[in-house]
């Protein structure tokens, strides 16, 4: 193994692998370093992979990649204790090419994706932890790993080391995260017969459905749950801000059991057998928590750069796009032979002017807002459920009287004003 590479990429998740793939394709001598036994062995994702950003890297990937099901329906359940108001969109345009998104199992998918990068010429080094970046004269010139004689050098290092982002923190690119900047998500993979999945979720053969769970799924704490269909398994999960678990003293696995036993969820998963239990952090701080993403000889991509749109449960797509843009920037920097911070800053500019930066900016206050004002999840979702129950229960009460009852349920005038103000505020942070 040569000691000096053109580029070192740390972390074989969606960001790092996308970056290594693009670099290798452009003829750059790149090493991709993964701490796990194999790519994906440390990675967790609810499971939705967006077609567009993946296809910008590997065209027609779905024909050969280990995908689970193309999603044709997305449901949103606003849950109370024994009820739910559900919205859904189902469209047959999503059932055919080019598709919108797919469910995937990360351990399988990431291995496949990393193998594609290797096919392009990237060198994959598994079972290796990068302990720190080597900095000389203010410039990152390589990494120190936990292997014997574990120093590797390169013109540029890409940090795609995931949500904990230890390497960028060492470089002083960000401080330690606060408990309200990360969500702790737990997930289980439940085995269930294909045909039963299709019957329960109202699907034709091979099609998939996602259900997002709001409100009682997280006992009113800011967060969401989800239930996704894979080929012959279901992915069920629940995530809340770490600060929420701390404040309410809730054990994440007990919250998981609560969701699994919820009367709105139980029938979907009945008889399904748990195969794996997984926990992982999600960066939720958004735009305001983003670290510095460019330095001399170094770029930060994916979760390590906090690139997650929590409102739209997008992350892997942003990771892939950031990895691809990092590669583009490195290829251009190589042509000029300049890896200074100024030369690499094109990466930040491209990232922030595209959908990644624009969406992060759009929702920059959303998580903080819903965390600060818990009434959306604690009060308004139950209220919505009571209103639906009232209007749709036929009990001889005239409809106008029912409407008056729902109106009274909101509370005295000052509560109504507060609710109107909250709805306006919610619109402001989401618009």
């Amino acid at each position: 193994m040569p000691e000096k590479f053109d580029a070192i990429v740390v972390g074989a998740g969606p960001a790092g692998t996308a970056c290594a793939y693009e670099l290798a394709k452009a003829g750059v001598n790149v090493i991709l370093i993964e701490r796990g036994e194999y790519p994906g062995s440390k990675n967790v994702m609810g499971g939705v992979l967006y077609r567009k950003m993946m296809e910008e890297i590997v065209p027609d990937f779905h024909k050969e990649a280990p995908i689970e099901r193309p999603i044709v329906e997305q449901r949103f359940m606003m849950m109370d204790k024994t009820s739910a108001v559900t919205f859904s969109y189902k469209g047959m345009e999503w059932a055919e090419e080019p598709y919108n998104n797919f469910t995937v199992l990360r351990a399988k998918f990431d291995q496949w994706f990393a193998a594609k990068a290797v096919e392009q010429g990237a060198l994959l080094l598994n079972e290796t932890v990068v302990l720190e970046c080597i900095v000389e004269d203010g410039k990152v010139v390589g990494v120190r790993t936990d292997r014997p004689d574990g120093e590797l050098r390169a013109d540029v290092v890409v940090l795609a080391d995931g949500v904990n982002s230890l390497l960028a923190k060492q470089l002083g690119f960000h401080k330690e995260f606060r408990p309200d900047e990360v969500a702790l998500a737990t997930m289980e993979i439940l085995k269930l017969d294909k045909k039963i999945i299709e019957d329960r979720f109202n699907l034709e053969e091979g099609q998939g459905c996602t259900i997002e769970l709001f409100g009682d799924a997280t006992k009113g704490i800011l967060g969401t749950g989800f239930l996704y269909t894979n080929k012959d398994t279901l992915s069920i999960g629940v995530g809340t801000l770490l600060s929420g678990l701390i404040k309410h003293k809730i054990k994440p696995y007990e919250l998981m059991e609560y969701v699994k036993k919820h009367p709105m969820i139980r029938p979907y998963i009945q008889g399904a057998e748990a195969q794996e239990y997984l926990a992982h952090l999600i960066p939720e701080g958004g735009y305001r928590s983003m670290p510095k993403v460019v330095g001399a000889g170094v770029l930060v991509a994916g979760d390590a750069a906090q690139l997650v749109n929590a409102i739209h449960r997008e992350g892997s797509n942003m990771a892939m796009t950031s990895g691809r843009l990092a590669a583009e920037t490195i290829v251009a920097a190589r042509e000029r032979g300049d890896f200074s911070e100024a030369a690499l800053d094109d990466y930040r500019k491209k990232l922030m002017s595209g959908f990644v930066g624009q969406d992060l900016k759009k929702y920059k206050d959303a998580t903080h807002h819903f965390d600060k004002f818990p009434q959306y999840f604690e009060q308004y979702i139950p209220m919505m459920n009571r209103a639906a129950s009232q209007m749709l229960t036929v009990d001889g009460m005239p409809k106008r009287e029912k409407q008056r009852k729902i109106w009274r349920d909101i509370g005295p005038a000052k509560e109504k004003i507060k609710m109107a103000r909250d709805l306006y505020r919610a619109w402001r942070v989401m618009k």
Binding site: S41, G47, L105, L166, E188, K260, E276
Partner: protein
């Protein structure tokens, strides 16, 4: 809430012990998690909140000391961020060691 010896529930994988049993670990012989000052847990931390929010019940309070069952760690990072006294030194396990997810 959950007994040490009695699995709490009907469905398989309901208790944390059963959930952890679903996983594959390639544990190192040395811990990658360290409580830096054990006195802090004893004297300044009545809630011992890490024993609550850790998704793998790695942290267990044993009368006067914190037991750290690093072998079952998911390497999520919550304890490092969530410890109210920043009292946990947290690094990744040695390359190839620790949790090995097979699916998700």
């Amino acid at each position: 809430m959950m007994g040490e010896t009695q699995p709490a529930a009907s469905a398989k994988g309901a208790s944390i012990e059963e959930k952890q049993y679903l996983l594959r670990f390639n544990a190192d012989t040395q811990s990658h998690l360290h409580v830096m000052d054990t006195e802090v847990c004893l004297t300044s931390c009545p809630d011992k909140i890490c024993t609550v929010f850790c998704p793998a019940e790695v942290y267990k309070w044993e009368e006067v000391r914190m037991h750290v069952g690093y072998e079952g760690c998911h390497e999520c990072g919550s304890c490092r961020i969530g410890c109210p006294h920043q009292n946990i030194k947290w690094v990744y396990p040695k390359g190839g060691h620790g949790i090995v997810f097979r699916l998700g």
